[in-house]
């Protein structure tokens, strides 16, 4: 056992102990328990903290409105500490010991694939609320985030039209980055462009000097980034420090979901183009109400509500809507209610569940980073998850349980 593992296991043991205590003492017997497994510490906490804040607010609002089915909703929070082993442990704890009605959680696609089988096996409903690479087809799982057919499909044609057709891809080295870069290749090819190279980086790489030189040598029209986590932020720092931002523009399928635009200086990321379901500047009445409530709860100086936070908020609302419709928290009844195609008026616009694929139909916007803010460029209304729904039909094959992967 090395030093790091030792620390992680010791810290984990203590955390597991406390989480368990909380689970048994603070809850009333007939509360509806909602499990949340997110990274609140470690390299991925930039993503996890806003997600848990949004979930907390959603549950408090539900309780203020009288709860669900006449009962209070209680949040059981597990901090997975950016550690995959913790995900398995907590998924089992949520399903078997705390017996929660639903688990909202998982941030990276790697973590989703760790907890999804555990929850499916133990018959515990699972909501994955993160924008991801698409293709998950599992009747026990609902993916409420946007997928490449909704985002990359907008982002790439826009960037190619604006900057040119030669693309260089840098991506995180695990399933999300690998599959997303395949999607990028597909859309670049469809637009008549070419991908010069794809480079993958493990999540702890911090020295990007040689890569930046290689990109400069290749002279692409723009760089597409699917980098993930705290260590990869140094790519943007080194990119800015080498003066590259002014020379080669960048689009990203991950930037800003961890509020990188606030941590970095404007001269390190201005002008980058992004595509998500939610941006804080969306001008719907629902968003105004949401932001007012959010800032009242977490402070007016809260940096920026991220795509992932909104995904989690909307994921909970969808589940609550389905529970109301089903009149029960029974897993199969809730799944059937979800599959009937329920829909909510969310801050990002209308969100409807696509019953056949367990993904969502929602609005998508393009935005540009400008002085620590995200300015909306264009909005596409009611986009279907056509990547997943073209291969996944859970109404026809309810026993399907796999992740479809695109072949280019």
């Amino acid at each position: 056992m090395d030093r790091r593992k030792f620390i992680q296991t010791t810290a984990g043991g203590i955390a597991a102990g406390t989480a368990g205590m909380y689970g048994s003492s603070a809850l009333a017997a007939d509360d509806i328990k909602v499990g949340s497994i997110h990274d609140l510490s470690g390299g991925l906490d930039i993503y996890g903290k806003p997600m848990v804040d949004a979930l907390t607010l959603a549950i408090e609002e539900q309780n203020a409105a009288g709860g669900l089915l006449g009962k209070k909703v209680a949040l059981i929070n597990y901090d997975s500490q950016s550690n995959m082993q913790k995900y398995t442990e907590y998924a089992q704890m949520a399903a078997l010991k705390d017996k929660v009605a639903v688990v909202h959680g998982g941030i990276t696609s790697a973590s989703r694939e760790v907890i999804r089988p555990v929850l499916t096996k133990n018959k515990t409903l699972y909501f994955y609320n993160t924008q991801y690479e698409g293709g998950v087809c599992d009747r026990n799982t609902f993916c409420t985030g946007v997928t490449p057919a909704q985002t990359v499909q907008k982002l790439i044609p826009y960037s190619m039209k604006k900057w040119g057709k030669k693309v260089y891809i840098v991506a995180a080295d695990y399933n999300y980055g690998q599959i997303t870069s395949e999607w990028v290749k597909k859309y670049v090819a469809e637009g008549g462009g070419s991908v010069q190279a794809v480079e993958f980086f493990p999540l702890d790489v911090t020295n990007f000097g040689p890569t930046i030189a290689k990109i400069e040598a290749a002279k692409p029209d723009f760089v597409m980034s699917a980098l993930v986590g705290g260590a990869h932020m140094s790519f943007y720092r080194q990119w800015g420090a080498a003066g590259m931002l002014k020379k080669i523009p960048m689009a990203s399928s991950t930037f800003s979901v961890g509020n990188e635009q606030i941590v970095l200086a404007p001269e390190e990321c201005n002008g980058m183009v992004l595509s998500y379901n939610y941006f804080q500047k969306i001008a719907t009445p629902e968003n105004k109400t949401f932001l007012a409530a959010f800032q009242k709860r977490f402070g007016a100086d809260y940096p920026n509500v991220t795509e992932l936070a909104m995904g989690t908020y909307q994921g909970f609302k969808l589940w609550a809507e389905a529970v109301k419709k089903a009149g029960s928290i029974d897993r199969m009844k809730v799944i059937e209610a979800m599959e009937s195609g329920i829909s909510i008026a969310a801050p990002s616009g209308k969100v409807t569940v696509d019953g056949a694929s367990h993904h969502c139909i929602l609005d998508v916007s393009l935005a540009e980073v400008k002085n620590k803010k995200l300015d909306i460029l264009q909005t596409f209304s009611q986009q279907a998850p056509s990547d997943t729904s073209s291969v996944c039909n859970l109404k026809k094959n309810p026993a399907e349980n796999k992740q479809f992967v695109i072949k280019v």
Binding site: A11, S41, I46, D173, F201, G209, A231, A242
Partner: protein
Amino acid sequence: MDLALIVSVQVLYAIATLVIISSGLAVIFGMMRVINLAHGEFLMLGAYSAIFATKAGVNIWVAMLVVAPICVGLFGIVVERLIIRHLYGRMVDTMLATWGLSLLCVGLVTSLIGNTTSGVSTPEGSFSIGAYSVSLYTMALIVIAVLLLLAIRWVLRSTDWGLIARGTMQNPGMADVLGISPTRVYSITFAVGAALSGLAGGLLAPVSGVVPTMGGSFIAKAFITVIGGGSSILAGTVSASALFGLINQLATFITTPVFGEVALFIAAVVMLRMLPQGITGRFFKGSL
């Protein structure tokens, strides 16, 4: 041509990084024979000192070059007094004690500051070599590494203090007889080593994410450089850094950063098989 230049700059940068992260260890392990497993945490504390000083409004260069080494140097004095002093000559025990210290530091910093990645922007801008741009900070690190080596050489060779330190390390009994207090020399040497580690942490803060566990990613490389270098602390550090930095960066250019790291470690294993005493066990014998 431009590409060759840019590759050389990146290679020099990799060498400079190795020199910077291993010089503190070279003093503590190479001179004092103390296996300091908390070296990575000394770097981490240096990085945090630099970040906190910058956030408090101190100029970033002052924070990196002055505040970080002073903070960690003072910490080194305390550590030497409380722990290391009682364990000189007991290598395995110092290893255990510093390992415990490293766990303690990571735990303490995590509970005080949290396990969140923080950082500061890289100072200075960039300049162009032909069609390529290079961050000025990269050049600054190379220059600092060279100055650091010259300074260490000057202190060890040309000052009384360097002579006394080297003499005491070789024969503490004789130094004692000649009226020099070995405990004081040990204490100061350890503090200097710690300060060098702190400086390294401060200098790395802008280019890498700063987290309580960041030491883990540097300590293996630092030890490999110092052990690969062999008994001469200066010539050893320079030659090992040059060899490993070159292999690492060339492999990175040809393939990926992941394979670059793998190539470095393979080179280290092969080299230690052929030169078990390190590079200076065979070449540059008797140099500083």
